[in-house]
């Protein structure tokens, strides 16, 4: 039985504790300040472009994206084509050929999708290397920059988990580079958009408020015995846990609203964005609860939270290299958080994301069960 009066009292206690120790929220304030500075400053790259009227990046050329095997991520890209440059996604058979070479309109560029030797599909998921051979007219590879600036963020929105993309560029009429170098012609800085930064900031806010702060506060309560004092009071375990969750959720939502309102106010109206934030926050709080209840001290709990974050990063990296890690990654709700957040920052979420959202629901549900069980068994004892 959950009593609202108890929740109010316990929630009041959490806020009062925060008021006594406001430095706990310093990171969220710092991230909001970063967002504010971003929103009120002019982007450095634009200034550079304006100062160089001959910059090739200004002269967007039409690009033919040529494939020989249709896939879902290509469908996704075709649904999200930019206004500029003009991009045509065409099958190799439909590209005009003359004397064995492509005959494209003058000044048009091409990007050929080539699957690497390691490419394979397993249980409906594609794994391996995909090389994108950029072929540009003239001598300046930078004419492809607008294409890459659209391509990489758009690709990030889609789950291409098992695939590893590499990019190369060479002039039309020459042979494709034998050993393509990843991102050789695209500055990473050019790919960083406000949406991407906002997504990263949201992830940090959520991890900090829902995992790190919860772990720290709960482990402190446990170590000091405050948690057992509360459990022995008329408040029951569910009420104590719910009040903690509500408190950290409110901080997470508060921080998220601030950042989205500053960097991408239009996204405030996206219900799916808030659903993803809500689910991720709950998931992270469940992870935090498990860490806090299993750790013996506040110091070890903080260390475990850090290990969880670093371990997750390593897992995500290894999943691009090894199939086993790829499947483990599918069981992490965080796997679906980033693409969903990033997508909803840009536009209403498409049907293609429904499986990700559904999986997230299920995984967070499982975490709720685990966290509840951990807290009941070891939370205050």
């Amino acid at each position: 039985m959950i009593r609202s009066a108890m929740i109010r009292i316990l929630l009041g206690r959490e806020f009062r504790r925060l008021r006594k120790n406001p430095s706990a929220l310093m990171l969220i304030g710092l991230l909001s300040a970063v967002a504010l500075l971003m929103a009120t400053s002019r982007p450095v790259s634009n200034e550079g472009a304006q100062s160089d009227p001959n910059s090739a990046t200004q002269s967007a050329v039409n690009v033919w994206l040529i494939y020989d095997q249709q896939s879902q991520w290509l469908v996704h890209l075709s649904e999200n084509l930019p206004d500029s440059p003009t991009i045509r996604i065409v099958h190799r058979d439909r590209v005009p050929i003359e004397n064995g070479t492509w005959k494209l309109p003058p000044q048009d560029a091409a990007v050929e999708i080539v699957y690497g030797d390691e490419f394979r599909t397993s249980q409906g998921t594609a794994f391996g290397k995909v090389v994108l051979n950029g072929r540009y007219p003239g001598r300046d590879a930078k004419v492809l920059a607008p294409f890459w600036n659209w391509f990489w963020p758009a690709l990030t929105e889609y789950h291409t988990d098992g695939l590893r993309f590499e990019q190369s560029s060479s002039p039309l009429g020459s042979q494709a580079a034998a050993t393509p170098a990843s991102l050789e012609d695209t500055s990473v800085a050019d790919l960083v958009t406000n949406e991407l930064i906002a997504t990263m900031l949201l992830l940090i806010v959520m991890f900090f408020a829902c995992c790190h702060l919860l772990v720290s506060f709960t482990a402190q309560d446990r170590e000091r015995g405050t948690l057992s004092a509360l459990v022995l009071s008329p408040a029951n375990t569910s009420e104590i846990l719910l009040a903690k969750f509500l408190f950290h959720l409110l901080i997470s939502l508060g921080g998220s609203i601030t950042i989205v309102a500053i960097l991408k106010p239009i996204a405030l109206t996206q219900p799916v964005l808030w659903l993803v934030i809500l689910l991720s926050s709950i998931g992270l709080m469940c992870v935090g609860t498990c860490i806090a209840t299993l750790a013996k001290t506040q110091a070890s709990a903080a260390l475990l939270a850090l290990c969880y974050m670093l371990g997750g990063t390593v897992l995500f990296y290894l999943s691009t290299k090894f199939t086993a890690f790829y499947f483990i990654k599918q069981l992490a709700f965080e796997n679906y958080t980033f693409p969903l957040l990033f997508s909803t920052m840009k536009r209403p979420v498409s049907v293609l994301h429904a499986p990700g959202l559904g999986t997230m629901f299920v995984l967070v549900g499982v975490w709720i069960g685990i966290a509840r069980s951990c807290f009941y068994r070891f939370g205050w004892r």
Partner: protein, 286 residues
């Protein structure tokens, strides 16, 4: 006879191969001030942890205020207070804020906060943050918190630890007062003087097993020794003799000393709970 407030029947608590409490059976009546004694590691705190629902017993049954523990933990926990041996305050809060939080949780009027603070002589320090409190003040604040909701049963782990002589007397007086009002008090302590002074009944636990349980008066009767210590002068030397009145020869020897020697002091040996405790727990000095 009053109804039992705490009933422990064949309680066994094991941690792996180690048996912390072994077949403990005990009944504590309502309004009783019950002392629970034992050397370190005897199983006292383990027993209290089972009673407050913090530890699940390996076997045996426990009823507190008529409710089985741990199955009815949620129903019974409002009826007891627990003063642990280490304080567990919210350090960032003042003493008053700590008590106000618990007053709200117990749905008690906030006036009880001031009453409790005054009773433990903490009114002046009420608005000071707990992190600035001394050990004794923290202890008193803990007691104030746990008596605030007027529990039927009060578990005390070392009630007067870290308290000065005056505060110790304040707490003992409080315990007597609460017991007279019908509160059952279950306390563990190492302070034998405290046991003798305030407890209605005392149980002694050793290596997880109950070795004795009786009133302090009965302990005195059962373990009292009829020994007289005589100190007298003979040829310029001070001689001390300890004579057992239950031994005929020694009784006559005492009469002879009093009649013939120049006695400096003659007195009976007082009952010492410490000696009895050590004897019972098998650690008596030889």
């Amino acid at each position: 006879m009053s109804a039992p407030a705490i009933e422990i029947d064949n309680l066994v608590v094991r941690f792996g191969r180690f048996t912390a409490v072994n077949k403990l059976s005990l009944t504590v009546n309502e309004g009783e001030l019950f002392g629970f004694l034992g050397p370190n590691g005897a199983g006292k705190t383990t027993t209290i942890k089972v009673l407050i629902g913090s530890l699940r017993p390996t076997s045996g049954s426990i009823r507190v205020a008529g409710f089985p523990i741990p199955s009815e933990f949620e129903r019974v926990k409002q009826q007891f207070g627990y003063v642990p041996d280490t304080e567990n305050h919210i350090e960032e809060f003042t003493g008053r804020e700590n008590l106000e939080l618990f007053a709200r949780l117990y749905d008690m009027p906030l006036s009880t906060v001031d009453e409790s603070l005054a009773r433990l002589e903490l009114s002046e320090a009420a608005d000071v943050v707990v992190s600035a409190y001394s050990k004794g003040m923290r202890r008193k604040l803990l007691i104030a918190r746990e008596i605030m909701h007027r529990p039927k049963i009060l578990y005390f782990d070392e009630p007067t630890a870290n308290l000065d002589a005056h505060s110790t007397e304040v707490v003992r007086e409080l315990l007597r007062d609460l017991a007279s009002q019908g509160t059952t008090i279950f306390l563990t302590t190492h302070n034998m003087e405290e046991v003798e002074q305030i407890c209605d009944r005392v149980a002694i636990l050793c290596r997880g097993e109950l070795v004795d349980c009786d009133t302090p008066t009965n302990f005195v009767t059962r373990h009292a020794v009829r020994i007289v210590k005589a100190q007298f002068e003979r040829e310029g030397n001070v001689i001390r003799e300890s004579l057992d009145l239950d031994v005929d020869e020694q009784r006559e020897q005492l009469a002879e000393i009093i009649r013939t020697e120049k006695c400096v002091r003659v007195h009976s040996q007082e009952f010492d709970f410490q000696d009895v405790f050590l004897e019972i727990t098998g650690q008596a000095y030889t």
